[in-house]
């Protein structure tokens, strides 16, 4: 802590202040809106970077601690702190939202409300990562989910899904494919998950008997073993819905595809990591034997996620759906790393949260650009775009290579560590679906890149152009981060290790 400046509060609330400023001062002035958004997210991003540099890598445990009593009789406090894991997530959020503000530069209608909602959402995300009080964590979680409904429902894009199969009648009745459908589905599904989380939180609160929601206090309580098992299950289902575990993942493809660019970037890049972070921090951190008992379930479903997501991605014809299913697949790698209960695996899991967050943020930013220029997401109609938009093509290729885990990209480090963890875990066979998933990922990623960017020019599109002006900001930052952390993974693994080793020590009893 430096001179008592509440850095974490600044990082968390700067975007919210920006949102308030936008709502009250920038009516009908789109440039002012964007300036305020860029500055407030810039403040968060710069402070997150400073936090990253100032973090003491030799010490384990939480740093930059802040506390403010909220409801003392109930034990609810505004408690913030970061450890190695949440540090990386805060950095990720700062990078993604800063890039996201620039990727949304061309939002045409009602940009004031758009940016205000986006910034409020980001506050929620930051809050979840830095919060140490479970109740306040839940409040921030809701803040991170609810603006999604408006953001997707108003500024999203509608696709077309032809009803087929035995449930086709249900598709017609619920209006599948429209952005309103995607918005409603996403919000209701995530709220359904948050119900499980709330039940788990209250179960811990009442059974601990200490009358505090604080993570630090609850960490010291030894909960009954069977209680741990079902509460961990509740947390796993609740947070897992947000993380996109199979079969509770179907809100994700529709949500990502229908959402506007920055919302997709934020959602796939950061929000899904909220879910995985919740499972690790709250589930594994507070319920060690519950986690150890149910690790087999987490790992098995993660393996299904990896292979199923990759196969589904291969079958899609809409570019955004490819990336959405790719996210489902990569979140499987995150959950697999956590389920291995090994140091390498958990480090790989957290690193994959970061690497995939950046990579998928980049992918969605690029897809947003392509969609904006070509007004289509149909892969079948595209071809030869690399000739007219070489910058976008290169960035997309780097993102794709990180996705399939090419060395020198961040994705490689993440996947290698996860696979190592899988091998060293009691369930070594998890390595097989994981590696098969990488193989399948290579197939669909390279195929999509070839179909869109290389080859002869498509007759359907003319007058396409490369990224310009503010659009480059997002691309350059994200590509740079992917390559930087691919070449120097120690930058991230150092602090992460100080967090994962003590966490594992409590679960895997020596």
């Amino acid at each position: 802590m430096t001179a008592g400046i509440p850095v974490l509060s600044l990082i968390t609330w700067a975007p919210f202040v920006g949102a308030l400023l936008i709502m009250f001062t920038a009516r009908h002035r789109p440039r002012a809106v964007r300036l305020i958004a860029a500055i407030s997210t810039g403040v968060s991003a710069v402070l997150a970077l400073w936090l990253y540099v100032a973090y003491d890598r030799q010490a384990s445990g939480f740093q930059f601690y802040e506390k403010l009593p909220l409801v003392p009789p109930l034990g609810i406090n505004y408690e913030l702190a970061v450890d190695g894991m949440s540090l990386l997530m805060v950095l990720l959020t700062g990078i993604i939202i800063f890039a996201g503000v620039f990727a949304s530069w061309t939002v045409a209608s009602r940009s004031q409300e758009f940016y205000a909602l986006l910034l409020a959402l980001v506050t929620g995300v930051f809050g979840v990562f830095v919060s140490l009080d479970l109740f306040v964590l839940f409040l921030f979680y809701e803040l991170a989910v609810l603006p999604m409904y408006l953001l997707i429902g108003i500024w999203g894009s509608t696709g077309e899904v032809r009803p087929r199969g035995i449930f086709a009648w249900a598709y017609r009745e619920t209006g599948v494919g429209t952005k309103e459908y995607a918005a409603m589905k996403l919000t209701l599904y995530l709220l359904f998950g948050s119900a499980f989380i709330l039940v788990g939180i209250f179960a811990l609160y009442t059974s601990s008997g200490i009358g505090s929601f604080s993570f630090l206090d609850l960490e010291g309580v030894a909960f009954d073993r069977s209680l741990q098992r079902w509460v961990f299950l509740a947390f796993y289902v609740g947070f897992g819905i947000l993380a996109g575990i199979w079969p509770l993942h179907t809100w994700s493809p529709d949500g990502h595809a229908s959402a506007p660019t920055a919302v997709s970037m934020l959602h796939a890049g950061v929000l899904m990591k909220l879910g995985a972070y919740g499972v690790v921090r709250v589930g594994m951190g507070l319920l060690p034997s519950g986690a150890a008992d149910l690790a087999w379930l987490v790992g098995m479903i993660a393996c299904i996620n990896i292979v199923y997501g990759a196969l589904s991605a291969m079958a899609q014809t809409d570019l955004k759906y490819v990336i959405a299913y790719s996210s489902v697949s990569h979140m499987g790698i995150v959950m697999l790393g956590a389920a291995t209960l090994t140091e390498a695996g958990l480090n790989g899991s957290v690193f994959q949260m970061f690497a995939h967050g950046v990579m998928t943020g980049l992918c969605f930013a690029l897809v947003g650009l392509v969609y904006e220029k070509a007004h289509s997401r149909e892969i079948g109609k595209m071809g030869g775009f690399g000739r007219v938009m070489p910058g976008i093509a290169t960035a997309f290729t780097v993102a794709g290579l990180s996705s399939l885990g090419l060395p020198a990209t961040a994705g490689f480090v993440a996947e290698l560590l996860t696979f190592l963890g899988a091998w060293r875990s009691p369930h070594s066979w998890w390595l097989l679906p994981a590696v098969a998933g990488t193989f399948l990922t290579a197939i669909y990623v390279l195929r999509v890149i070839k179909q869109i960017f290389w080859g002869p020019p498509s007759p359907h599109f003319a007058h396409l152009e490369d990224a310009r002006g503010p659009e480059w900001v997002a691309l350059v930052i994200l590509v740079g981060v992917i390559v930087l952390f691919g070449l120097v993974p120690g930058l991230a693994l150092g602090p992460v290790d100080t967090a994962t080793v003590p966490l594992l020590a409590r679960i895997v009893a020596p």
């Binding site: 899904v161 087929r164 199969g165 035995i166 449930f167 086709a168 009648w169 249900a170 598709y171 009745e173 619920t174 599948v176 589905k185 599904y189 079969p247 179907t250 493809p253 529709d254 199923y308 196969l311 589904s312 291969m314 079958a315 899609q316 399948l440 197939i443 669909y444």
Partner: protein
């Protein structure tokens, strides 16, 4: 390598390696004769020398190739050299390959078509890359693409379908239950009366 294989008493591999030496000389010099010597196919083609940026590295590599080869002739390696007939045999095989290529593709006294016909089945298979490419493509299309389409369909129409069914039922259920609110006070009085009756019955049974 030939010496080592002989030393290990591996007859089959020795024959194959020797044959390969002959064939390598043949196909390499076939390319050289067809591409660089003889009459041009297309009268309108104007090939030119590679620019120095490309040619100089090629010269360096060529020089190194010859140099390394000569060095090991002058200062042979330690270890097994094989019987004295081995080195002349391998050189002879290479020379034979060169001569056959020269005869077929430079002076054209041996007919290439006749050679191909001589090795009919092998020629047929080689032109179709032994069917391996076709096999991989077939497996990819049938299994990987096919399976991926199945999984994509299952996810979109079954896994998501269950969800949409629950959603549709909720909507329908809401439509049905909505009719409870008829707006007629008589219906509400009936409801209250029925509820009170239920409470009496319940109180009796759970005394």
């Amino acid at each position: 390598m030939l010496a080592g294989v002989l030393h290990g008493h591996l007859a089959g591999p020795f024959v194959l390696l020797a044959l390969t030496a002959f064939l390598t000389a043949f196909y390499m010099f076939r390319v050289v004769f067809l591409a660089f010597f003889g009459r041009p196919h297309d009268a309108h083609a104007h090939p030119h020398e590679a620019p120095p940026l490309m040619a100089v590295p090629l010269w360096i590599l060529a020089g190194l190739t010859v140099g390394i080869g000569l060095r090991f002739v002058v200062h042979p390696l330690e270890g097994e050299h094989g019987p004295s007939w081995l080195a002349p045999l391998s050189l002879g095989l290479a020379a034979a390959g060169f001569v056959l290529a020269w005869a077929t593709y430079q002076v054209r006294v041996v007919s290439a078509a006749m050679l191909a016909a001589l090795f009919g089945p092998i020629d047929y298979m080689a032109r179709r890359r032994y069917g391996l490419d076709a096999l991989y493509a077939g497996l990819y299309r049938a299994f990987i693409l096919g399976f991926s389409r199945l999984v994509g369909w299952v996810d979109r129409y079954l896994v998501d379908g269950v969800l949409n069914v629950l959603s549709a039922w909720t909507l329908r259920g809401g439509d049905v239950l909505r009719r409870m609110q008829s707006g007629q006070p008589q219906d509400y009085v009936y409801g209250v009366a029925f509820g009170v009756l239920l409470l009496f019955v319940w109180a009796q049974f759970w005394r």
